[in-house]
């Protein structure tokens, strides 16, 4: 297992958000996490990436303990994420946004920058190249100089993904990347997720409410409800699990009495 959660529990002021969760993501896999609103999915991302500190439990990445680490340290170890609400750096260009990802893979300090040491210049070049490569990968070459927040929403989502890729992660966490996308864009997103895994060998953990996308892209699905995992399995079995239908899917909307 690339990522392993053991007995992770989290609560806020008495509200239990995650309850003794055991969960794992295998290397090179596309894994989805679904569940009703408020089930604790985003919180689980926050726990993994160090934004929330669980009251109990272990989290390891490639065998290394990450539970007490600060978010930036977790990122350095190889976990990158996007946010449920797009959080790009406003008033900065697309390229500058993506370059943020390379920060943890570079080192030059203030003095090196002021003196323009050769090592610093080489490093800057490398940051630039990697960032452009990531932009190219998500299909945004040519947009690098525009203000990120002026892009269409679907593109902003991609910038976020490129920025996460620029951290050179082993595991990529995507929080509802398809929200607000139209179906064409969703299709393209599916392609992109697959390519991330296939071409870069990055494992993907996905939160998404769009069932067709989830069923289409995931190799494995875990279902979270009220902070506990209720089912895990391949798309087909999860989709037909009565517990999941009861808690999450509801009747097919075709049957909506309109």
């Amino acid at each position: 297992m690339l990522l392993q959660l053991k007995q992770v529990s989290l609560s806020f002021a008495g509200n239990t958000v995650l309850h003794e969760v055991d969960f794992g993501v295998a290397a090179g896999r596309i894994h989805s996490l679904i569940g009703p609103n408020g089930a604790g999915k985003t919180s689980m991302f926050n726990v993994i990436t160090g934004f929330y500190r669980p009251q109990q439990g272990d989290i390891t990445l490639d065998g290394e303990q990450i539970v007490k680490r600060k978010p930036h340290a977790v990122t350095r170890l190889g976990v990158a994420r996007t946010f449920q609400n797009v959080r790009l750096f406003r008033e900065m260009s697309v390229l500058e946004n993506v370059m943020a990802g390379q920060h943890c893979r570079s080192r030059a300090g203030a003095l090196a920058a002021i003196l323009r040491l050769p090592s610093q210049r080489a490093e800057e070049r490398r940051i630039l190249e990697t960032s452009l490569e990531c932009l190219d990968f998500v299909g945004l070459m040519g947009h690098q100089d525009r203000l990120a927040t002026n892009l269409a929403y679907g593109h902003q989502r991609r910038v976020e993904i490129a920025r996460a890729l620029a951290t050179e992660p082993k595991l990529l966490l995507l929080d509802e990347p398809a929200a607000g996308l139209n179906s064409g864009e969703k299709q393209a997103l599916i392609e992109l997720i697959r390519r991330i895994r296939d071409e870069r060998g990055v494992a993907v953990l996905l939160i998404e409410h769009d069932m067709s996308l989830v069923m289409n892209v995931s190799e494995r699905i875990s279902v979270l409800d009220h902070g506990s995992l209720i089912t895990e399995g391949d798309p087909h079995s999860v989709q037909n699990d009565p517990k999941v239908i009861e808690a999450y899917l509801g009747q097919d909307d075709e049957e909506l009495a309109l």
């Binding site: 985003t42 991302f45 926050n46 934004f51 449920q84």
Partner: protein
């Protein structure tokens, strides 16, 4: 005097001074609460209020005298006048800036402060104006403890104003709207809240409070001048922040604490009163290190 008496006296004096800071801090915090502006001109509104109160008193002292009644009426006049001035300042200087970076509004406030200060300098020629009243030096002595009537009235007036305001903001829907405006103006508009009106009311109240404090200070201490707002502005700012900026009860608490710190800071054994402010600021910094949003400020957790 025994140590105990002196302790009590320090306590009482600190509370008097503190309730005064609290009153000024209150206006500061209200304005901040609504438009997230550190209103550097607040101290100068206080100064303007003192002059307005002085003017008011000369108007009414003819038939009401310069005693409590006259001062009270003068204070109301000053509150009204400076309240309106506050609204005008908001309209002219801050309103056009609402979309601008927060620091820009801060600088605008600074410019307003300079304008008020230098206008007062030009008008008064820099002279100290004696604010003479018929209030005596009388008071109550309890053993070695002394409380002047002026102090009692000052504290009572400040307390009444503060409690009224606290009730208004926490208990009424309008008060809630004031808080909402600071969070998301467009959303408020969509809910039918007249954002400009709410802001104007806030400035009116905040500036009015500054004027009340200014008039009281004038009457209590007996002299006013164009630069008197500077130090108190800083102190009110400090008090508001310590209490948790934006929080009304916090401002009161912050004011009282600051008053007590200064009062006791004068008396710390072994170090002289020249270190009083260093002492005060160090404590304040320590407080913030452990309570990063002030004593009663809400910590703003952001969801990811």
């Amino acid at each position: 005097m025994t140590w105990y008496d002196s302790f009590l006296q320090q306590l009482v004096d600190g509370l008097v001074l503190g309730s005064f800071y609290a009153l000024v801090a209150l206006g500061y915090t209200m304005v901040f609460g609504v438009i997230k502006l550190l209103n550097f001109a607040h101290g100068d509104l206080y100064m303007t209020g003192a002059f307005a109160g002085f003017g008011g008193l000369s108007l009414v002292s003819g038939f009401l005298g310069a005693g409590w009644l006259g001062i009270f009426v003068a204070m109301l006049l000053a509150m009204l006048a400076v309240g309106c001035l506050g609204v005008v300042i908001e309209r002219v200087a801050y309103h056009p800036m609402l979309g601008a970076p927060r620091l820009s509004i801060l600088i605008t406030a600074l410019a307003v402060s300079l304008v008020l200060q230098n206008a007062a300098l030009a008008l008064t020629g820099g002279q100290y104006t004696a604010f003479s009243t018929d209030l005596g030096f009388g008071g109550i002595s309890l053993g070695n403890l002394f409380l002047s009537y002026n102090q009692i009235v000052l504290v009572a007036a400040a307390a009444v104003l503060m409690i009224a305001l606290e009730l208004f903001v926490s208990r009424t829907l309008y008060g809630r709207a004031m808080r909402a405006v600071s969070i998301d103006k467009d959303m408020c508009r969509m809910m039918g809240i007249n954002v400009s009106a709410v802001i104007a009311v806030t400035f009116f109240i905040g500036s009015g409070l500054a004027a009340a404090a200014g008039t009281m200070a004038g009457a209590y201490y007996g002299s006013i001048w164009y630069f008197m707002g500077f130090l108190i502005g800083l102190k009110a700012f400090t008090a508001a922040v310590i209490g948790g900026i934006g929080s009304i009860t916090g401002a009161m608490l912050g004011g009282l604490i600051l008053g007590l710190l200064e009062s006791f800071g004068t008396h710390i054994p072994f170090i002289g009163s020249e270190w009083k402010d260093v002492f005060t600021f160090s404590i304040l910094i320590l407080v913030l290190v452990f309570k990063p949003t002030g004593l009663l400020g809400k910590s703003e957790v952001e969801r990811m």
